[in-house]
Symmetry: C2
Subunit: 206 residues, 2 copies
Amino acid sequence: MKIPAVAISRLSVYARHLSVLDTNGREVISSGHLADLCGVNPAQIRKDLAYFGEFGVRGVGYYVKELLFEIRKILGADKQWRLALVGAGNLGSALLRHMSRADRGYRFIVAFDRNPKRIGERIGEVEVKPLDAIDRLIEALDIEIGAIAVGPESAQEVCDRLIRAGIRGILNFAPVQIQCPPHVSVEHVDFTLKLDRLCYRLTSES
Amino acid sequence: MKIPAVAISRLSVYARHLSVLDTNGREVISSGHLADLCGVNPAQIRKDLAYFGEFGVRGVGYYVKELLFEIRKILGADKQWRLALVGAGNLGSALLRHMSRADRGYRFIVAFDRNPKRIGERIGEVEVKPLDAIDRLIEALDIEIGAIAVGPESAQEVCDRLIRAGIRGILNFAPVQIQCPPHVSVEHVDFTLKLDRLCYRLTSES
DNA sequence: GTATGTGAAACCGTTCACAGCA
DNA sequence: TGCTGTGAACGGTTTCACATAC
């Protein structure tokens, strides 16, 4: 069955709120209450969950711990993912430092950069390696996801290189669309598009 | 007429490609060719443009310079927007440095931070001010958009403060939904949601 | 002939409303 | 009684197909 990508993002949001609820000692929650917290329709939550099975108890609701566990399993968040960063500039190094103190399921293992001055530098918990090391290290370090934080002009080249090295998941921060074979998944993160949207609304609504 | 937000983001993408085409000296382009470049359906481009008027010539296509100009006008990208950053940590300072060398229509004018150690520091082209200065400076500096790059626990408070100071557009990098009155527009940028999506696909497609 | 602009059709995601079960 | 799970209705976006204009 085909599951919409937005539904997956909503599951992440549900998981975040469930995690807080669990920490607060809450044991059971209804779709209605969770929907209020997440700002969505109750039926939406039930439909999203129905893609994957039946996790609730009729007349009662969902057991917080159990549902959180199940959603984590669905999302693949029940393991540690090993990431590599390409491009240790402003954005890239911010990512490294940001994630090094995150207790989540994501861990940057290594970073690559073109600039010789940065090679050998330590940022957060990782060391910066030259681009040529990609082919060797991606496999040796068992990296599963590549984050691209280089300029738009070299994003495609870096992408090709990562794929050649065996990467199947790419998080692209460069403001360009990237071409990939179908066995590779790409997610594009581009806050300038969001900024443009904001400005459009500020322009048109006044 | 109600225009879908995704349509606006597509206009941004069209504009990017048109800009490159223009630089390369291209004068005319058809929806079919532009669609190939942008990875969308040709009818999609025509429909998106039709929300705002008629910009093409039948049998010919679109004049690149003219269409680019019109889209920029629609998006409100024909002016310089004045931004303020709240939260000059890893992500925040990366944003400042990143945007200070961007020749786009966005300019960070000032940054705010809670941490006394950071007050007075200069990052990129702006100086870090204390949070209390928000109320006064947002108006004095004629800031139109606030970017929130603080932790999830203080995002809502910062948001309220910005709105009280007169901000009508917010770019939220904190991984929480934010409550706002209807006259304020918010865009949420959250790469961890994208990362979760990636992991879901890597998990389920194997 | 060629490519736009646009009603109609197809598609997809969301919400409703209620049957089913604790 | 109360809340989940789900078929059906709804609403919105994308794509098709063709009339229209250069």
